[in-house]
């Protein structure tokens, strides 16, 4: 018998206690503060130095910009020569479209798998779940040839299709778990009222919004951050994503640290702002997905 089971069998279990867990409150703060410093330090170092003059950057990396060392030359260089807006747009289109496709297609498939008892249900569920275990990157050689024959190279569609395929296995799995929790009575009632299966699906969809958010969040991060497929399937100037674009964009300024630090700051600040604004929803999406 495991300790958990032993414990659960013990009669003390029902008694409640006012005793608090003994976490040294300050100890908790100290460790978390230290880690927060570790997590933010490098980012802040970059941002702080991006508004300093080139001399000051090298002279003392750790000093905050002062009236003497404040210098926006880096930003001027970067902003005068960048197609970053294009990269940003591409990433945005690719991420949003892939996320939407994954969310809706997984909801549909998840609904079918959870709702209907048909021949091959378990087998299909298993087939769709295998993809969770196998990284799609290993099929790159064939994906490239496939995209070439479909004339999709250097189009955003190539990326969207690959990312959708990549996100579906987990999406379907999560959605079918969420779908199973929807109360049966509600669906029966709708069917008695003469609703079609599509109408029932639409009703259910409203109830599994937390699940959809979880799938969206899980799909978003790897798509936004991927460097591999943009590099291979869509490396043209017009289809570069932020991640690939940043690599080239930053490369231009490699010998001008002022501009480089400014470029880095410009590349990460939008994401950081979005993240901080939506962090509650974002992290909730993650936790809801994690415990399904």
């Amino acid at each position: 018998m495991s300790p958990v089971q032993q414990f659960l069998a013990s009669p003390n279990r029902i008694r409640h206690s006012k005793r608090r867990v003994h976490w040294g409150r300050w100890g908790v703060h100290a460790v978390l503060l230290f880690y927060t410093f570790l997590a933010l330090g490098p980012t802040l170092l970059v941002i702080a130095n991006s508004v300093k003059s080139r001399k000051a950057i090298f002279a003392d990396a750790f000093s905050l910009p002062s009236a003497e060392t404040f210098d926006l030359a880096g930003y001027e260089t970067v902003l005068s020569s960048s197609s970053f807006d294009v990269y940003f747009r591409n990433s945005f289109i690719v991420t949003v479209t892939s996320v939407l496709l994954v969310v809706f297609f997984s909801a549909m498939a998840g609904f079918a798998l959870a709702e209907y008892d048909f021949k091959g249900n378990t087998l299909l569920a298993l087939y769709l779940a295998i993809g969770i275990m196998i990284p799609i990157r290993l099929g790159t050689v064939s994906i490239l040839k496939l995209m070439v024959s479909l004339h999709l190279i250097n189009t955003l569609w190539a990326l969207i299709l690959v990312y959708t395929a990549m996100g579906l296995p987990l999406g379907v799995f999560l959605m079918s778990q969420f779908m199973r929790q929807v109360p049966r009575e509600m669906k029966s009632a709708a069917r008695v009222d003469g609703a079609t299966e599509y109408r029932v699906f639409a009703l259910v969809l409203r109830l599994v919004r937390p699940g959809m958010a979880a799938v969206a969040v899980f799909t978003m991060l790897p798509v936004w951050n991927d460097l591999w497929f943009p590099l291979i399937l869509a490396p043209s100037e017009a289809t570069k994503t932020v991640t690939l674009g940043a690599s080239a964009f930053l490369g231009q300024f490699e010998r001008n640290w002022g501009a480089l630090l400014a470029a880095l700051t410009l590349a990460m600040v939008p994401i950081l702002l979005l993240y901080i604004i939506f962090s509650r929803q974002f992290l909730r999406g993650l936790t809801e997905g994690a415990i399904k």
Partner: protein, 327 residues
């Protein structure tokens, strides 16, 4: 991309039922909810899009890659020749075994550092009666949202001997330049970026554990530490397994960070070469050389086999030994 989020697996532990009572029982692995028998029309409509896209853009390429590894670049059947080249031609095999070894080191750093640190942070973030935990949670997860390119650049600058940041903190070795330090340094950068993932997964499990469970155990005289080991830790074990296998899959696919920081030749003298960069070179070549699609497919197939072994070990050795509980 380490720890790819999309490759998560479910934890079978379920949330507190609405009633609030914490009856815990071990649940059977295959739940079979009541299902409706219906006409095929809607079923097909619901299943079609996902199944087709998944089959065409994921399953087919993976199977086709496997097939290609048995052909040469001109399309002629080559049997096991490509595998023979990979394992017996020193130009490939030396690099392959090096890359594999490096990959295991890379993985070890993540298993031994990223996951324990993630767990520690998650435990602290669920500590009771401490204010401001949400702020910490947001901040600790922040590096995970940054793109690998940015992370690579940030650390390249910070570790550059030109800037002198490392000298200020007492390190005067060029960490990314020396054969002995380059791989550990890259591993630590990767851990730095991805620690948020295990943290958030553990966190999700921890907040689902009813407080009265822990409290009651302390009534029994258990200290915090004991309560953690006896109650919390067993409940975390299934998640630990999932995170470990995800880390394994992610690490054996890693490419982006090393490509960004060290390029495809992954120097110095291949000291930071892992399977992902080796795969890229085999497929596309590197400066001044041309790659081979057939060798690329062969390397991919071998990586696939390695991951498969890991996943099978997880499924047949780890999973049966770990109990899951419904709270």
């Amino acid at each position: 991309m380490e720890n790819r989020l999309t490759e998560a697996e479910p934890v079978v532990t379920e949330k507190l039922p609405p009633g609030g009572g914490s009856t815990v029982r071990q649940i059977p692995r295959s739940g079979s909810p009541a299902r409706r028998r219906r006409r095929w029309g809607p079923i097909l409509v619901f299943l079609m899009p996902a199944t087709i896209i998944y089959s065409v853009f994921m399953v087919y390429p993976l199977l086709d890659s496997l097939r290609r590894s048995f052909f040469n670049d001109d399309g002629n059947y080559a049997g096991l020749d490509n595998y023979d080249t990979l394992f017996t031609n020193p130009a490939f095999s030396d690099r392959f075994w090096d890359a594999l070894g490096h990959n295991f080191q890379f993985f070890a750093f993540h298993i031994l550092l990223q996951n324990p640190v993630g767990l520690l942070l998650a435990v602290l973030l669920t500590a009771q009666s401490v204010r401001g935990l949400n702020i910490y949670r947001t901040m600790v997860f922040l590096p995970t949202t940054l793109s690998v390119v940015i992370v690579g650049f940030i650390w390249r600058l910070i570790l550059s001997p030109l800037w002198g940041v490392t000298e200020t903190v007492g390190i005067d070795t060029p960490l990314l330049g020396e054969p002995l330090t380059v791989l550990p340094t890259l591993s630590l950068i990767s851990v730095w970026q991805w620690v948020g993932i295990p943290m958030i997964f553990f966190y999700a499990v921890l907040i689902a554990i009813p407080k009265d469970l822990i409290e009651a155990s302390q009534v029994d005289g258990a200290g915090s530490w004991q309560a953690f080991w006896n109650i919390t830790f067993p409940l975390l074990l299934p998640m630990l397994g999932i995170i470990s296998i995800l880390t394994f899959i992610g690490n054996f696919n890693a490419f982006d960070l090393i490509y960004q920081v060290k390029g495809v030749v992954a120097g110095p003298d291949f000291a930071s070469d892992i399977l992902g960069t080796f795969f890229y070179r085999a497929f596309f070549g590197a400066s001044g050389t041309t790659g081979s699609a057939a060798m690329g497919a062969t390397v991919a197939s071998v990586i696939f086999l390695i991951i498969l072994v890991g996943v099978l070990l997880y499924m047949f050795v780890w999973q049966p030994r770990v109990s899951t509980y419904e709270l």
